[in-house]
Symmetry: D2
Subunit: 332 residues, 4 copies
């Protein structure tokens, strides 16, 4: 499969490196506006054609698939043109700037019978795969909550708020793990520097009393990447910054008793062992790119397809609507 890659900023080099090393794929061209980035790309990959114009990549007859790794507001036009030119498309997350754009791309891909995949890389990590397995096997029991903190002194984005920058990771993971779509969203936040929210909080109400929460912040002195997931039978802590033991599963839970008096507890706790499973170590992006090539080749529909990307964009749109009102409940 012959690839063109559009965008060689922060994430593009990883896409190119993985596609270059992957059996069965080849990068023919990289399109990038910034001259400095083009120089970097050419130095690192002397054998790949590096151009300024995306059109050259989009219209090349040699190219089978296009990876769109440019800013989010450019995704729609680039992905649309690629699909129109008969190319399979891999789009960086978040999928599009609006859900209407996402729907149009999904329809276009279906019409043209092309693979459309959104880069929800975290779904290919050893940690998320293991959590998915635990949830599906019922090891955690019915879920109570999903609570993520994703903060650091991060790069300020000037074309979006901190939710659009950091929350898509968590939203795509929730979408993957939790049953059903969120029913309503509340988002609060504050911008201190350039008009966009740099601190934000998002609550999502999922079916069956599952509550999800995301804490994102560009102004934290320390980096935190911690997710707590609580279920009736077991609970887990996923600390993505741990070198080993990223995932700890606690054999802890609650039991409801009967009310016996004003000072009696209704609920008792069960405490037990903790277990940190060995996780798969291979690079998530490598696996995702291989999966893209496989889907595009076989016509298999990826689970991280345009619809998955669209669901995440809808959550973000709803959050923006809530944010505008400083935290109203907005139904999806």
């Amino acid at each position: 499969m012959k690839f063109g890659v559009i965008g060689y900023g922060y994430w593009g080099p990883n896409i190119v490196r993985n596609l270059a090393q992957l059996e069965g794929s080849q990068v023919l061209a990289i399109a990038e506006i910034s001259p400095q980035a083009r120089t970097r790309a050419q130095k690192a990959h002397p054998g790949i054609k590096v151009v300024a114009s995306a059109t050259e990549v989009l219209t090349s007859t040699e190219i089978d698939a296009v990876a769109v790794v440019s800013p989010v507001w450019t995704h729609f036009e680039l992905a649309k043109a690629a699909l129109q030119n008969g190319k399979h498309v891999f789009v960086e997350k978040p999928f599009t700037s609006t859900s209407a754009q996402g729907e149009e791309l999904i329809n276009l891909a279906a019409q043209k019978n092309l693979t459309l995949m959104v880069d929800h890389t975290f779904l290919f990590t050893g940690a998320v795969k293991k959590i998915k397995q635990l949830v599906d096997d019922g090891a955690l029991g019915p879920l109570y909550y999903y609570d993520s903190t994703r903060v650091n002194l991060g790069l300020f984005q000037h074309d979006c708020n901190v939710l659009w920058d950091l929350a898509p990771h968590d939203l795509s993971i929730m979408d993957y793990l939790l049953k059903g779509d969120p029913q309503a969203v509340v988002a609060t936040g504050q911008g201190h520097l350039n008009g966009h929210e740099d601190v934000a909080y998002m609550t999502l109400y999922f079916p069956e009393k599952v509550i999800a929460h995301v804490n994102v912040n560009w102004l934290s002195p320390v980096k935190v990447r911690t997710t707590l997931i609580g279920g009736e039978k077991r609970m887990l802590v996923w600390n993505d910054l741990e070198a080993d033991e990223k995932l700890k599963i606690y054999d802890k839970g609650v039991q409801i008793g009967s009310r016996e008096g004003v000072y009696e507890l209704l609920v008792s706790y069960r405490s037990g062992d903790m277990w940190a499973p060995q996780l798969e170590q291979s690079e998530a992006l490598r696996q995702e790119m291989a999966y893209f090539v496989e889907c595009a080749t076989t016509g298999q529909r990826p689970f991280n397809d345009g619809c998955a990307g669209l669901r995440v964009v809808r959550m973000l749109e709803t959050a923006d609507e809530s944010l505008k009102k400083k935290g109203a409940l907005v139904y999806l």
Copy 2:
């Protein structure tokens, strides 16, 4: 100063122990409904009278001051009777079940010229004292946010939700550190076991774009007591579970630049040293009780007076109103 203590459950023993050891104070009587708790109290303090009826304490002519350490729904009646009987009153937090009750107690204390103090213990810890000093000295610069996570597999309360149980700590600290009162509150949450929210999130909008957030949870497999405070000049992390180095101050901040192009950053970061100051080690509750005795003796108005307690109750009431609507913006 001769004390009567009402309630000998979880916190009462600490109040009694500290009052007993404090120079200038003496505990004459403990009132407690539960026979088992009375037995424990008598064993631990053979010299103190232990009774079943609060009235005996409230009406004793020997007693100068009453500590109310019973469930929150009993605070109002007990504190009111104590004040009416001319006793200084120390009330466990949260102050009262409603703001109307709080106002009545404040007025009554003023009328009777009695000291009314709410047990905001954290304000007497070495960590909060140091943070207060840093904020007041301008070491952090103008504040951006206050973000607290206070979760664990905690005791379920059956007469309140997790916000009323765990958030008062943070709300009293915010009230102490941040300028002005919160202007609006958004609270979200979910109850899974007995009808009360056991997972909840609360955003408070303070003046001058300061945003505060509290994450409280009775169903977490791990205990977390971490607060991040960000300012323009410096930021800090307060981890109350650390034995040493509870407080880490980061010489990190942000600088706004001019927009130079679509790919340029508007904001740059400043990175520097971290510093963990030596904190005062003496027991917070001991200091608070000494301060109560001092205020009651001299007539000095405590900073953690009924009004401080009332401000916290108002935040909780507002949060409850927001919670009922699953997360509406409610102005105070």
Copy 3:
């Protein structure tokens, strides 16, 4: 069983508190030289007789058993007198200043048919009990090493070096866990302040290639209490400063392969899950005191008897001999 306790310094209060609360035991008297400590003892335990002279305790006809919690150089004379007066004896660790003293006490106790127990408290903790079980069950496989770091800005002792102060904990645990007695010892160290070694290292060669090492230091800026134990099948880390998850067991090991070439590895590693078992939570000293009462009552020989105490003293004596030569190999 009626107890006299000699010594009310750092550890004595814990002994008295536990004996006072234990069913079937009672403290009749405390002997303590320091007037300040006597005042503290009397305040905390109004019902117990507090005296200056140990003789009063040792000769009391009402007392069945004596706990010797005074400095190590006083153990021998006090324990000897207690045994001669027909009392069961519980001695703080290290047992005695010399092995000759230890032997004499053991013989005397045997002759008089009295219980002689050495306070190896750590053997009664949940962590050590679990490790003992893992070792005995073969869960770790044949052991390779025991490696302990026990350092902090500790109290300087002026009557012994840091090995006699801190290493007995580890030596008593090794004695409990490892097969056989150490065959030889090497100890190195340095004194910087008052002539006694304040930094010291001790290697013990046990049978079957098991090597043990202890790192003790009174001059460390941070407190560390970490022990690594490696076996062929599994390895563990015991961090006694962790509130939860003190013990982590790693399903990791090594496999020996054949030599295949100059760049090939002879040994490969096996990597697997980590597991932190729930540990027994009850206070170790409480259990040890109950065990003492049981042994003294039934005549059962405790596993932490005088002989166990003597084995630890022999290791310390041998270490001192090695230290004097700045680190010679000394056989036991």
Copy 4:
């Protein structure tokens, strides 16, 4: 400066990558015995000549300098040939297998007026540079001890014991930081798998009562890279596995008092703030290679020259001698 690199195993790729990116240096050829490694080298660096024979590199007239990154037992012959052929030499640590070899190389380099540098990379890290500055500025006061733990489930070496594999890092750092050479060494250890010690401990007595200790272990379930350095005025902990805050400096120390009685302490502690300085972030190896080019160009004598390498080899030789006797004191 035109480089030939001999050895493309674990560390060689880092040397080549840094030399390739460095201004003023160029890699002309890589020599490597293993065909697989040659294939990897050629793929990663299409522009560099990759050969099987070291001789081709050693005798090339185009090459100015040779980096020897092969197993330690090959260092002497390769470095000697390179020097004889008039090339500057950069040698991986440990410098040579014996001190006699090291001396011969030093003499040869002096005779030929060539630069000979030993790869003590850690001396170029931000952490060690900062520690060096603190020591030299007297910020720590006179030093008491240097105590390093460097353990993990590491790659077994079949041509040396764990001391030769892991301790050179610490020995080169001690050599850099501490005044004078060690006067005597004691090493203990045990081999469990292939005859070589896989667990070892090394004590070094430096002048002025400075004691150093290294704990190295190929069989640890967890990776530890922690060094404690204690001085009279301040103490520090360097944890190289921390992403940020690798270095923590404690304003803690000791004060000697007078003896006031049998129970009085002779020494008191001073406790104060902790401080984690911002460290230089640039890659250590990059800086070291630039320093090599600079020294070779200007004739400046590097501080990590052959003599520094030789001092480390002497410590290892002495340790081996001590190890053979299971831990005798051996004077250097």
